[in-house]
């Protein structure tokens, strides 16, 4: 507990500095936030155009799709905001600059990830929350206390799944010189997450459910709120899946950190 408090405190101190440094470039911050705002809405535009010619997608209405998408945006925000430094890992590893993360008396993943705080991810988070409120009003979902708690729990585990999938792919850099194909694939697959899994054929659906379980980033947990009567028992296990995947990811990271010996110098 004391360690947790210490790390939180440290995180705030470091991030406060980063935000201060970023705010000095106000134009840069504004432009990237506006960019994020519109790119968040781009997928929504695709839905809108799609639903102009069809009435439903595998039985899901436009507003339900908006709900799933909003859930997705909130669930991927922690990755965007807190773990954005993962993009640089393969460069740090190849150039030997990853070495410095070993020298501080800190958890290495914490230290590594604390070096980046992506403010524009907050835009995405806010858009997601706005859309979720809008869609659930339209769909007349009643937010009882139990539902709200369920929402928070499922969002948290969905975020864990998202972080775990991307970071496992990122860790390939510890063993493979050119790890971009692995990471690029994981990043690309993520874009399938806000679609109903039922539109994919058997092999893909199986993959997205059991192997690279991006179905758990948005679609399956959303079902709990949209069509609770249709939910398969597996969906109730999503918090466990999130925690297990995150643990697996952390184990792989530890193996990578231990096997990386640094370029000679």
């Amino acid at each position: 507990m004391r360690t947790l408090a210490r790390y939180l405190r440290l995180y705030f101190i470091i991030e406060a500095q980063y935000i201060k440094a970023r705010m000095q470039y106000r134009a840069d911050f504004l432009v990237s936030s506006i960019g994020m705002f519109f790119s968040s809405l781009a997928t929504l535009a695709v839905f809108w155009i799609l639903f102009n010619s069809i009435n439903d997608l595998a039985g899901w209405t436009f507003m339900e799709m908006v709900f799933i998408y909003a859930f997705y945006m909130i669930a991927i925000s922690p990755m965007q905001i807190l773990f954005d430094h993962f993009w640089q890992l393969r460069f740090h590893i190849r150039q030997g600059t990853f070495l410095k993360y070993y020298f501080r008396p800190l958890n290495m993943m914490f230290y590594y990830m604390s070096e980046m705080f992506d403010l524009k991810g907050l835009t995405q988070l806010l858009v997601g929350i706005g859309l979720l409120i809008y869609a659930s009003t339209q769909l007349e979902i009643s937010w009882t206390a139990a539902r709200v708690i369920l929402l928070l729990v499922t969002l948290f585990s969905a975020a864990l799944v998202q972080v775990a999938v991307v970071l496992i792919a990122t860790c390939a850099a510890f063993w493979v010189v050119d790890s971009w194909p692995v990471l690029g694939l994981a990043w690309k697959l993520r874009e399938f997450a806000p679609y109903p899994m039922s539109i994919f054929d058997g092999a893909f659906r199986f993959t997205f459910t059991y192997i690279i379980p991006i179905g758990f980033v948005a679609f399956y947990p959303s079902q709990l709120f949209l069509r609770p009567e249709q939910v398969s028992p597996l969906v109730y296990a999503s918090p466990l899946i999130g925690i297990a995947l995150f643990a697996l990811m952390y184990w792989i990271w530890t193996q990578g950190v231990n096997s990386y010996t640094g370029t000679g110098s």
Binding site: L10, Q17, Y18, K100, L106, G262
Partner: protein, 340 residues
Amino acid sequence: MSLIHIQDLSKHFKILNRRQGLGGAFRDLFSGDYRTVRAVDGIALDIQPGEIVGYIGPNGAGKSTTIKMMTGILKPTAGTITVNGQVPYANRIRQAQIMGVVFGQRTQLWWDLPVIESFKILKEIYRVDQATFDRHMEVFEKLVGLKELYSQQVRTLSLGQRMLCDISASFLHNPQVVFLDEPTIGLDVSIKAKIRSVVSELNRVRGTTIILTTHDLGDVEALCRRIIILDKGKILFDGPTKKVTSLFGAYRTLKLQIDDFDDTTLSSLREKLAGRFGRDHGVTVASIEELWTDVTIDQARTPLSDVLNFIMKTFPVFDVRIVEISMEKVVQQVYEGALG
């Protein structure tokens, strides 16, 4: 008790012998064709609290690999190593608290933040209390003139300024031992001198143990009483720096570019020098780099100015440089029994 104790320590890297081309890369996937690099190969040493030790040797000798083992990043292939009585890799976080590390030109400060913020973050990371922090910052101010740089972003510092900041930072939490891996690489003479004085002062006032690797014998001469020479993973010499500098301090190398250089130039140069200064004259001739002829002179036996004058009169020289003896030369001489 020794602060650092190393016995029969080895680190071997297994490297895949890569084949050419795409087909080769594919076959490499299943290849068991490994080559072993003995980066550190059975060394033993003991370092006492408060020492400054020069850890030197040519490129690829295994210096950085040794430091990585002492800091707990690398697990030894064989042998024992303890720092402050503990095995470094067994508990990296605990060991990191008692160490400071500066690795070459790679800064460990926060690139985009002002210098002072890096120090404040380090204060939190290492749990340095405010009074100690203020006292240490005062010392850095006196030695380095750090205040001037406080508000500057780390990435805007010059290499020398950054190095001074990094070195100061590595002492902030009052570590028992600081590892400096080539802290003076790529720096000009005046910054080098400053770094030397800062390091020696911090060692003096705090009694911090320092392990220094460098390619500059001048650093070792200025800072270290003790020198360890490493080559091909083995220790060639471990003893007083004085013994080494008295041997090599007097050596200088004249680098010459001679007009119309051809196959006969070297031998003719050798002959003429022998004719003028005698056979046992402490002057050797070699050509290592293209276009440059190296004449190494033991100034204890033959004055450099005499040799230079003589060569300038006898050969059409159009460029001259004078350099201190190189690490490679020292190692070669040690092999040849110079330190007995």
